[in-house]
Amino acid sequence: MDQLSWMFSLIPDAVITVLVHLTLIAGVVLTILGTFAEKFPFVGTYGKLAKLVGIPLLLIGIFLEGGLATEMRWRAQVAELEIKIKESEAKSTVVNETIRTVIKEKVKVVKEVQVVIQERIVKEKEKIDAECKVAPEAITILNDAARNIKGESK
């Protein structure tokens, strides 16, 4: 059935609907006409022939009507899903834009705070350096700690 559905999906809705309905109608008409025609002596042979074609057409038509109903329901579901996807994509875009804006604003604030902190250091430089001399070992330890950035062991 999957194969049939896939093949159906390649044909436009209107075309497939008309073809399936025509098949069923032709099947019904030929079967009924054939059944009646059989009873008349001159057209009896044609009646048999009409029935011979009509009955398979009728069966195929019924089968295809079922397939068509399934196919149309499937297509409706696909269309509904596509709408939902478009909506979700729009939401995602909005979320991306919001996150982008929030990050920019927050990073800006962090940088502004940094500027203020650096200005305070410059301002208090004399006091900070007045009573403290940093040992070179402390600098080495700090730098080693700073270099150990990606979980690499020393």
Partner: protein, 88 residues
């Protein structure tokens, strides 16, 4: 009969069921793709505490920026996953 068999085989073999609806997980904003830079190091040979403090505070600032991006990643993924999973 041969022709019918061939046609039937074609019908059965051709139709590989394909999902007609394609979806992609949303793309990450460029702002989240920024890598955290290496930490600043104190100039070797300095004995001034103010220089040490300057470097350390710059690194603190760097940490805060990286933390923002890391938090934003979590928020982004959580929200986008919710949106993505809401489509059924």
């Amino acid at each position: 009969m041969k022709t019918v068999s061939i046609l039937l085989s074609i019908v059965l073999l051709v139709g590989c069921a394909a999902t007609p609806v394609k979806r992609e997980f949303p793309k990450v904003p460029q702002e989240l793709m920024v890598e955290c830079p290496d930490l600043k190091e104190v100039a070797e040979g300095t004995t001034k505490l103010s220089e040490v403090v300057t470097t350390v505070t710059v690194n603190y600032g760097q940490y805060h920026e990286c933390r923002l991006i890391s938090d934003a990643w979590r928020d982004w993924y959580k929200t986008q996953k919710e949106i993505f999973n809401s489509v059924k």
